[in-house]
Amino acid sequence: MFVRYFLAVFLALACAAARAELTIEITKGMDNAVPIAIVPFGWAQPNRLPEDVSAIVSADLHRSGQFKPLDRADMLSRPTEASQVFYRDWKVLKTEYLVIGKLIPVDGGRYRADFQIFDVFQQRPIKSASVTSTNLRALAHGVSDIIYLTLTGIRGAFSTRILYVTMERMGPKKQRYRLYVADVDGHNDRIILESPEPILSPTWAPNGRHVAYVSFQSTRPSIYIQDTVTGRQQKITGFPGLNGAPSFSPDGKQLAMVLSKDGNPEIYIMTLANGQLRRLTNHYAIDTEPTWSPDGQSILFTSERGGSPQIYRQHIASGKVERLTFDGNYNARPALTPDGRFLAMVHRSNGVFHIAVKDLVRGTFNVLTETDLDESPSIAPNASMILYATLHGGRGVLSAVSLDGRVNVRLPSRYGDVREPSWSPFL
């Protein structure tokens, strides 16, 4: 009896520790984040649920930086249906929106969340919805997506995933590289590739299932495509010299990459169905880090052809090249929002590397981050946030910054250096 009690306490502590490590830290939030209350969802069954759905929803909304979820302990009541809602309980806490719901077991071992969103000031329900899933975390993210869309008008990206690389030092000249797939909140992390040799530049295919990356597993760099479901890995290139920076075309049929097989680092486009290569650039300078425009007509890339690394855009059919960045003497690693309007990049000013964004319509240029050695910007499919790698406490960690720079959050990591995040498309 005593032993069992002790074990239960120990397990609770162990779980708390694991959770604590995964806590997301808001390093910079919006002053006018919207106060919202996510009341614990009702569950009428005798067993305890393995996940706390409303806590996951609260964490999702909190991480967006746009919402300030009410602490559960401060709630004056915990309604689970509309008839139990007393608006004054929420008005007095200055809560603007209220979310209540119930979880119901459905056939096939699935759960359904029936939930409602209320506007506290207008004292009326504004949305009723249901989400069904076998997985409670996935269900919670689905609820978050609907709340976010309802209240901001923007599609939520809480059900997406991220890829990232970790490097753990095992001894002098001995490292362990791991490529992970995880939910965007850092949970459900899974290793899909492990190697003593470097792994870099992971990127998603538009289907949200396949990924491409560079691995030195054969002792030389090669580009591989891997199916994240089956784990099957396929070697795509193994040319002499650089084989780097893979980027899928918007239709997933082509892969842009950097090869130096003809002497200089140049951008090539491979048609994946037949392996045919087309050379895009032809310049003695370094050309690298290709990314596609959303219409698939152009490639953006980093080039030092002007004397320092800057971002250029080349129209594929005509070959016409245009320089896009002029602020400072180091702008690299372009990433475009899905609408093609905002260009995120790594920007150096006063010797420090930050994430910056250029509005390609208005021409304005903004440095978004205040950390150092920021790299690998990857934009959320809803363009809400830019995920990037930075240094914190001497260690590589992942952070996310909103496109306006007003929100900055640091993502949890367990060990090693975390780097090279890539945000999946909508799944």
């Binding site: 650089l242 780097g244 370094i286 980093t302």
Partner: protein, 168 residues
Amino acid sequence: MSIFTRNHLVALIAAASIAGCSSTPEDTSGSAPVSDTTSYETSTPASSASQSDPALQGRVVYFDFDKYDIRYDSEAVLNAHAAYLSARPAARVRVEGHADERGTREYNMALGERRAKAVAAYLASKGASSSQIEVISYGEERPVALGHEESSWAQNRRAELQYTSEAP
């Protein structure tokens, strides 16, 4: 007969590998059989002149930030290796280019290759055959100094010479 040959071959490989170990500067074993095989190794004709050059012990050359031109302070080391390679046509070297952590990873991968190729071109210009030289870039992936300040970065902006055959 065949068994004898195989044993003999094993002995030769063992002797060669011991010799390889003893010729590296950090080796401290120095037992009698090792020095025997060492003298056997070093008695090959071409090596005597070039192997006596102390610059041949250097295996790393350094670069300035975002640069890939060979610095004056690298020339003595590279000249010694070029002479060695030229005198030993069977020697093979792998030139590994590296960058510091600043800047983007793929750009640094390209920069590391530029550095490795600059070293390879220099060695070739001083008499090594290009068929003896292989280049690879590790970009910023394999730092030797782990700090995040200039003294570490300066050590990481480098090219390393790794002999894959007939190391001096």
